[in-house]
């Protein structure tokens, strides 16, 4: 089957709309509207470029998809959304063609819809309980809430209609935010709106967190994040890059010496896990963080212009089954690798990656090795990777969580011929802040402990996002950011006014 072009998909949607009596659509007719496929770049073409893969719905597609929504009274989708966006309402507005109203509804609850529409695991959240998916007995046929969210968010940005939120009169109070990822960005916006002065301290030379250094351009174009950050700056938020709290300045000094009234810690989960297998420090073994940072943030994909080098691999093995693994594998394809193998210890259903990313990776030629795992990495005298010893697994008895545990098949070892190994088995929390901030409680995994208001064990110090949750998602980071901001605003309002 050849790859459908955006024009073909649009024509099909137009056709479908023509046949409908929009004034009196019955449930059965809504369920009969075909789920709208996301237009995307042809796999053969996109394997060689860094541009976004998913191109976004056309207006006709968006309308057709929006008409599939049954406007359920009990709104199961809203219960599945971590920030409880009024989903049927924003979809209804799209169906009516009132995009402005639609985006306004979303923005009441979500700050980064263009991002979340692209990267949220919708099939595990809002789209999982969707009535349409249930009726059609396939979660992949649920209303494409994420794509619709993206559609109106992109519309707003492309129209140049992004409105600056109203900002209350200056209160003279100061809030410091550590880390400029989704959690920090959310807190900044919500706290600034109350009229408090906000400074974000970011370690990297560019802000945006994982959205700029981890998630690749082909999945989340940098301009989108850039515009969100520009909006923040227009609101009067100061972003200070090249500032690593714990080293450039201690967290407690921000409160004691620099006059900040509250601090939010949103430093993410930036400590790559390795497998702890022999050969892991050979040349050609990378953490996904390093590989993706070189490629994205440092733009090493632009061989001509970037000063930062990246390995020119021929045969790559990526270890892991999450979004990070998919990103690394697909990046390796784009950097010119001939073969990219994805090695995952469990089976496909357990893969934590978004369904769409798994599908895209396969379309781009990534080879999946399920129920296999790396045991040892082999190298030559120069210390270069020459291969990887793998072992096969089978699914055994269910463990305490009910998932069938993968068990090693004795004697099934074999050698995979690769020159590069990328470890994408997860991130732990970076120890810098906790090591340099006495009294800041953390759990045994190093995550900072926060209460339901995101307040930590230290007064005036809040935390949220991956540093609290462990490696999680953009939307959960944003949700905790909102909670923290509300708590900070409340605490600051209760303090005497600064004169």
């Amino acid at each position: 089957m050849s790859h459908p072009t955006p024009a073909q998909l649009d024509a099909a949607a137009v056709d479908c709309l023509k046949k409908l009596d929009l004034a009196a659509l019955k449930v059965k007719e809504r369920l009969a509207i075909p789920p709208q496929e996301m237009p995307s770049q042809d796999p053969e073409v996109r394997r060689r470029n860094i541009q976004e893969v998913a191109l976004g719905y056309t207006a006709a597609q968006a309308q057709a998809e929006a008409l599939r929504c049954l406007q359920c009274k009990n709104k199961p989708c809203v219960a599945g959304c971590p920030v409880a966006i009024d989903i049927p309402a924003f979809i209804q507005a799209i169906a009516e063609g009132d995009y402005q109203k639609s985006i306004d509804i979303i923005k009441k609850d979500s700050l980064l819809p263009a991002v979340c529409g692209r990267v949220c695991p919708q099939e595990e959240q809002c789209q999982l309980p969707c009535t349409v998916g249930k009726a059609l007995k396939d979660v992949n046929k649920s209303v494409s809430i994420g794509r619709l969210e993206r559609f109106v968010a992109d519309w707003e940005r492309e129209q140049g209609k992004v409105k600056l939120p109203a900002i209350k009169p200056e209160t003279g109070k100061k809030v410091a935010i550590i880390g400029c990822g989704p959690a920090g960005i959310t807190v900044a916006a919500d706290v600034r709106r109350e009229g408090h002065a906000v400074t974000i301290f970011e370690a990297f030379h560019k802000s945006g967190g994982v959205m700029v250094y981890g998630i690749p351009e082909f999945r989340l174009p940098k301009v989108i994040v850039k515009e969100e950050l520009a909006t923040l700056e227009k609101m009067g938020v100061t972003i200070q890059t090249n500032f690593v709290v714990g080293r450039t300045r201690k967290l407690l000094d921000l409160l004691a010496k620099d006059g900040f009234d509250a601090v939010f810690v949103g430093v993410g989960a930036g400590l790559p896990k390795f497998m702890n297998i022999p050969g892991e420090n050979l040349v050609g073994v990378f953490s996904a963080n390093e590989y993706l940072t070189r490629a994205n943030l440092m733009r090493a994909y632009d061989f001509e212009r970037a000063d930062t080098p990246i390995f020119r691999s021929q045969k790559v093995a990526v270890l892991g089954g999450g979004n990070v693994a998919m990103d690394a594998a697909r990046m390796a394809v784009r950097l010119g690798a001939q073969e990219v193998h994805l090695v995952y210890r469990r089976s496909r259903v357990e893969m934590p990656a978004r369904i769409e990313e798994v599908a895209h990776a396969e379309e781009e030629g990534v080879l999946f090795h399920l129920l296999e795992n790396a045991k040892r990495i082999l190298g030559n005298e120069q210390g270069l990777v020459t291969g990887m010893e793998c072992v096969r697994y089978e699914l055994g008895e269910p463990d305490s969580s009910g998932r069938r545990r993968p068990v090693e098949l004795k004697g099934s070892e074999f050698i995979m011929d690769v020159d590069t190994v990328i470890c994408a088995i997860g991130n732990e929390s970076n120890p810098l802040i906790r090591q340099t901030t006495p009294g800041l409680d953390h759990n045994k995994w190093g995550n900072i402990i926060a209460n339901d208001q995101q307040l930590t064990s230290l007064p005036h110090v809040y935390a949220g996002g991956d540093i609290v949750l462990g490696a999680a998602t953009v939307i959960l980071a944003m949700g905790q950011g909102r909670t923290a901001a509300a708590a900070i605003n409340k605490a600051l309002a209760a303090q005497p006014a600064v004169t």
């Binding site: 990297f204 040349v283 930062t308």
Partner: protein, 287 residues
């Protein structure tokens, strides 16, 4: 911020920059480093030790050897120019205390990071013996500054053009053979030099610390690109180091990892040289 206040050519390919960086100047301690990037869009992030700092002036001093593309681009900067990004101070500071006799061994550009450490040990009341090594006299840096600190200064050159014709490990071994033997050794220089310094002191069981110069990206523990094997463990140089027990470091693995991008870097350096050459020719031809 980040303006170059003073530029000095220390030797043919070693440049010293004093740069305005008040926050870093205030917080930094001996042994720490910064990550420098000349341009945000396409520049590479490279680690450089803070060779000195002046908190009152709000400046730090960087000393670097021109070895590749980024150091070449930095060497082309002039006083008044701004380095786009400087992040720091990074890494754990050197643990400095009064131990007795401390031998500081510096090789090549390693003398630059050694300077603040030697200074620190001196201020802590130690007897400081400094051994400086270079391929030849012209490549020797910071002799005057080190002489001002040292209780005893030994200079070695590979070709005998200055001081002793010897490798730094020779006088180091002699010092270890004397009674009382040194209480502590710090060695900073090319990996191969650090490796052999550690081998020299091992039989004498003199604690020996080295400062590792691995390839880095973020410098904050996020990428693991800087990892080395120390004892049985993997350590990240940027957050767990840069200083480690030299008797435990797997230098062979580290040296291999340093060469990871060798071919690509050689190409980049070559193109960069060509471009500079063209730019120079063009400016010469201008009336």
């Amino acid at each position: 911020m980040n303006t170059i206040l003073k530029k000095t050519q220390l030797s043919d390919d070693v440049v010293q920059l004093r740069v305005a960086a008040p926050l870093i100047a205030e917080e930094r301690k001996p042994g720490q480093f910064v990550i420098v990037q000349v341009d945000s869009d396409f520049g590479e992030r490279i680690p450089l030790t803070i060779a000195d700092a002046d908190a009152r002036e709000g400046s730090i001093t960087l000393i670097f050897q021109v070895v590749g593309k980024t150091t070449m681009r930095m060497a082309a900067l002039k006083e008044g120019d701004v380095i786009e990004n400087i992040l720091g101070p990074l890494g754990r500071p050197t643990h400095i205390e009064k131990l007795g006799t401390v031998v500081c061994v510096g090789g090549g550009i390693g003398v630059a990071p050694l300077h603040p450490i030697a200074q620190g040990f001196k201020q802590a009341g130690n007897k400081v013996i400094i051994i400086l090594g270079a391929r030849n006299q012209k490549l020797l840096i910071l002799e005057k500054e080190m002489r001002a600190i040292a209780d005893e200064l030994i200079i070695c050159t590979d070709d005998g053009s200055y001081g002793r014709k010897a490798l730094v490990t020779e006088p180091l071994k002699e010092l270890c053979q004397q009674a009382p033997k040194p209480d502590f050794v710090v060695a900073i220089g090319p990996p191969i030099m650090m490796k052999f310094c550690a081998e020299t002191t091992r039989p004498f069981a003199v604690p020996t610390f080295v400062s590792l110069n691995t390839i880095m990206v973020d410098g904050t523990g996020m990428c693991g690109g800087c990892r080395v094997t120390v004892g049985d463990e993997t350590k990240f140089v940027c957050v767990d180091g840069p200083e480690f027990d030299g008797h435990k470091v797997d230098f062979d693995n580290m040296m291999k990892r340093l060469r990871a991008y060798k071919t690509l870097e050689d190409q980049a350096r070559h193109t960069c040289k060509l471009q500079q050459e063209i730019a120079r020719k063009e400016s010469e031809m201008k009336p």
